[in-house]
Amino acid sequence: MLYLQLEKASVDLSNMAVIYCVDVDSVPVYTQYFDITLIPSTLFFFNAQHMKVDWGSQDNTKYIGNFKKKQHFIDVIETIYRGAMKGKFMVTSPLDPRDIYKYDLLYKEI
């Protein structure tokens, strides 16, 4: 359960990040903009700037699926925070590719 992991991690990350759970159906504009097709999906922002992460998967705009450990999520947030403080918009994932959820997405130009 992702929300339980995020809830547990929120205390440890209180100096770096604020975590919000959003219902997909209540924000169709954002669902369309971020092209959310699989849930749970985790998006990262820094000062109203969307942060991208190179997970080694098809989608680098968001993290799809659950984190295996709470520590994995904390590591990701820390990496994003450090990258964003240096002015980066995209960072490389600190996680082992084996710990990242496997999925297949086919993008199409319409």
Binding site: V24, P28, V29, Y30, T31, Q32, Y33, F34, D35, I36, T37, L38, I39, P40, A48, H50, T61, I64, G65, R98, D99, Y101, K102, Y103, D104, L105, L106, Y107, K108, E109, I110
Partner: protein, 316 residues
């Protein structure tokens, strides 16, 4: 001093990792206990089943996609460590490859012998818990061949899919061309209707210009028959566009990339949000919703007091 240190080498108790209890090391009573024997039977049967499954693959190696069950491990009761079940090659996964390799290791066989010795098990059953090194070498050779076949098949599948996508894209292009041409024709018809009304009025006023008009109309008649009714000052707008240019313009008008197909295990797939195609999304680099101007709230509501109220407040 020496005598005292020597005496400490005596071990009175020992921890049994299977039963998770400490027992007297000196006698073998614990090993023959019902609990220990039951656990032994259970773990050996469980482990034997896994080995039998892998032995089936030993004859016919199975190759899967890269990343397939990448994090599956098997606990080896003899070596007391977890082993990766599948091994990975450059672009594919060998089913049970890592486990088979482990079963053929000399260390595993040594540990197995030790385990059998400690637990006083029937030595004839040893054969079921390891794989011959020769068999593992044969398996390795078979895997190489199977991996090559798998890669070739995958390439073929990819090329087939690419062809399918190409044909679909071509169909899409043709449809878009047809729609664009129809749109252009419709626009031209409407402009011609307007021009004919103007021309009628101009011919009545200036009959000399009519001759010049007819000459030009002959030059452009192959494009569209209705263009004969154009006036002199008007340039013909019906130019046949190249198909590629038309498609390029279409893409420039509404470029958007979105997820067409998604597959996953254990994730919830949500239906695509309808509408808003023209807005673009994160993949196309469109302006995010939170940076777009909000027409409803900012224009209607005024912030702070009006000038009259402010002046009244200052002077009173």
């Amino acid at each position: 001093m020496n005598s005292s240190t020597k005496s400490t080498s005596f071990i009175q108790f020992r921890y049994c990792k299977l039963c998770k209890i400490s027992h007297k090391y000196k006698n073998k009573k614990h090993i023959y206990s019902l609990r220990h024997q039951q656990i032994l039977i259970n773990i050996l049967s469980k482990f034997r089943k896994k080995i039998e499954d892998s032995q089936l693959i030993l004859k016919n190696p199975v190759i899967m996609k890269l990343g397939w069950e990448s994090d599956v491990t098997i606990w080896c009761y003899f070596c007391e460590e977890s082993i990766q079940k599948h091994s990975t090659l450059e672009d594919c996964t060998v089913v049970c490859g890592s486990f088979i390799r482990h079963l053929a290791l000399r260390q595993h066989i040594e540990k197995m012998n030790e385990f059998f010795w400690e637990n006083i098990l029937n030595k004839t059953t040893k054969l079921h818990y390891f794989i011959d090194e020769a068999d593992s070498i044969i398996f390795k050779n078979k895997v190489e061949k199977a991996a090559q076949k798998f890669c070739e098949k995958q390439k073929q599948d990819i090329s087939k899919n690419a062809e399918k996508i190409k044909t679909a894209a071509l169909n899409h292009q043709l449809i878009s061309q047809y729609h664009l041409q129809q749109k252009k024709q419709h626009q031209n018809l409407t402009t011609n209707q307007n021009s004919t009304t103007n021309q009628n009025s101009t011919t009545n006023q200036n009959p000399t210009t009519n001759q010049g008009f007819t000459n030009q109309s002959c030059a452009t008649s192959h494009n569209f028959t209705a263009s004969q009714n154009l006036t002199i000052n008007q340039t013909p707008t019906f130019q046949r566009l190249e198909p590629n240019r038309q498609i390029d313009s279409l893409i420039e008008e509404a470029p958007q990339i979105s997820t067409a197909r998604k597959t996953s295990f254990g994730l919830t797939v949500i239906p695509k949000v309808k509408g808003g195609k023209e807005k673009g999304n994160i993949h196309t680099g469109a302006v995010p919703p939170w940076l777009q101007p909000d027409n409803t709230s900012s224009q209607t509501s005024t912030i702070g007091p009006s000038l009259h109220d402010y002046q009244a407040h200052c002077f009173c």
